[in-house]
Symmetry: C4
Subunit: 214 residues, 4 copies
């Protein structure tokens, strides 16, 4: 499981091409990272199109998100590092923008969570072995104060842990996008693709008049 | 029509790339199989992304679904073997997850079948020569007890045969996905692509307020 | 403008790949043809997947649709030849299945035409120089009696010509698909892509509650 | 920042392939341009499919849009040159047709602007640093009188500047399509992809019954 910078770059570039081809990287949206074996984090630099990243579009930051190179990391780097701090088993984080995420989180305008239940695709989340569960995905209000958003994530995770509730490997930011993570890039992509499928199903249920459970 | 393991692997890998490119293989969902001329079954191993399968991601099981190699076959292998047992002419089975399948089977929450009629695309199903028919696609409630699901399939097929009703080359699992099969991989893909088109048309009819016949 | 068989084959194969990549060739649906300079017609054989056609999947028929080779032409060949007979300037015909075509023609269940007006995309049809028109696209009820369908096309075209109305380079078959044509394959593709865009806009208008003019 | 004709051609060809692959160039719709360092403008010629442009499909016009070569420039060239005249920092302009643009501008049938607020994706527009804004995208009624349309664009921009309002890097033409621009092709693509995402979100909001400006 030792991950080098070269492996991280290769994983991020491939993820960018795949997510873009699925419509999950419009404009220059999204940002991706991989945690190396030595604790440093490889993250996309600010403002590049994720469907055509090159090695120079990836840079190293330390575990607190401070740049280790003379480049400007993604403005949302703190939302990656908070995941690595809260989830020691996580080694890859993906953030994407998509129409279903934005439309659904705006539709649920006062809700702090999205409840998903009865979907086979819930098993795309690590550790899930059945569809007969209710999974809560946190929804945070959007903010340009990224450290404040990161504190919201910490607070919510701490509360769920104190209450003995499960913590999903993903969260949503209203009118903005989704974060998902895994023990490696393959698992992080599985979470993001599964989540996109689930949100699309929820939106279709609302359109068809049979709602989601929300 | 003699099918070797190499041919089966090639057919499954190509099907995975194609189904993924059509959005029918989100996360690591789906599983595919081909029956060899000698009766053994080549099936995808558990948990791989179907859009980028390699030869090592395919393994052999016997007609009862028991592994003939030291790998873990798809958890739903019994839903493939039951098709081969019930339909001697079937030599390829595809299982996919898609938003239309999930949304429609959840919308029809108490229904044990989906009725499709009047669509030219029904001719994608082998033996269908006209659109002027009503085709019944079974819908089974989802379960993590795969042998129990397989028994539901057997029971439903037996009942339809006793009643002299047609048995469609496909069935749906509620909130989960679709199974389709054919005499070879080409025919199985034709069934799955046709089914996806038909379910999308049914959903559109409900959205437009003109319903399906259900 | 002299068109040889080799050129016709190349044009049809490329059209198949492009239409399939746009979701306009699910299962083995659709059929395509090109009229050669000598009057013979190159048409797709029956039952092949249009996204992966090879040269052997194209065959020659005479202007009446009778096979000039020992292969089975598309079952709907008469719907191609009728276009060439009615429109001497047409040299390529495309027939596609798509969700918008099927959903919209079933929604307009008693209508014999679709009226499109005010769309800039109407200029994709040859000779259209403004969006300030109302274009009527005929809708025929589906039938497995292809010669009868062909006679419906002739009757409708004759009536429009007698009444001095424009004849659109396309028609729809309810619950089935669309036919479109042009002076060459490039123009036929322009008509089909433009039509698909227009039908998708009409469906969106109905979904949004602002209807189409129908 | 010096831009040569060769660089302009390469940028336009690549943009065409990418926009077509996203469904933003149906039929032969759309037109694209790049302003060279010497003030001349490279623009697509009339009537070609934008997904398969070659170098011969690009031609030079002067800043007033008059051809500098013996070819026919896009009929909407005046809508490109007006952008370059009004926005000295703009060096690339993209015009696309898409279902969301057409459906939304027809739905808002009497409105002269689309108001977008609260979306993170608004930051795809240059200079936008927060989602907490309301951005007004002008909507002009469609016309085949392109110089008149260009005068509408000038009048609207002048009025906004006199009133001290922001001028978005994009405008919409009802039932027709969208224009977007940037300091280079990369920025123009960012604007167009971001706009398409935003319009898709607005349409989804109307479908879900939670409106547009919310």
């Amino acid at each position: 499981m030792a991950t080098t910078l070269d492996e991280a770059i290769e994983a991020i570039l491939a993820a960018g091409r795949r997510l873009d081809s699925r419509g999950l990287a419009p404009a220059t949206s999204g940002n991706y990272s991989v945690r190396l074996s030595d604790g440093r984090i490889a993250v996309t630099v600010s403002g590049r199109h994720k469907g055509r990243l090159g090695p120079d579009d990836i840079m190293l930051v330390d575990p607190e998100g401070d740049p280790l190179e003379n480049k400007k990391p993604s403005a949302e780097t703190a939302l990656h590092t908070v995941v690595y701090q809260l989830h020691p088993q996580a080694n890859a984080v993906l953030h994407v923008h998509s129409v279903p995420v934005v439309a659904l989180t705006r539709h649920l305008r006062f809700s702090g969570e999205l409840l998903l239940e009865g979907y086979e695709m819930l098993k795309a989340f690590p550790g899930m072995t059945t569809h007969e569960v209710t999974v809560s995905i946190p929804i945070f209000d959007n903010s340009q104060d990224v450290p404040a958003l990161a504190r919201d994530v910490v607070k919510d995770t701490d509360l769920r842990r104190r209450e003995g509730r499960d913590v999903a490997p993903a969260y949503l930011i209203r009118g903005h996008g989704a974060y998902g993570w895994g023990k490696d890039m393959e698992e992080a992509e599985r979470v993001i693709e599964g989540l996109e499928h689930l949100l699309s199903c929820e939106i279709e249920a609302i359109r068809l008049g049979t709602g989601g459970r929300t």
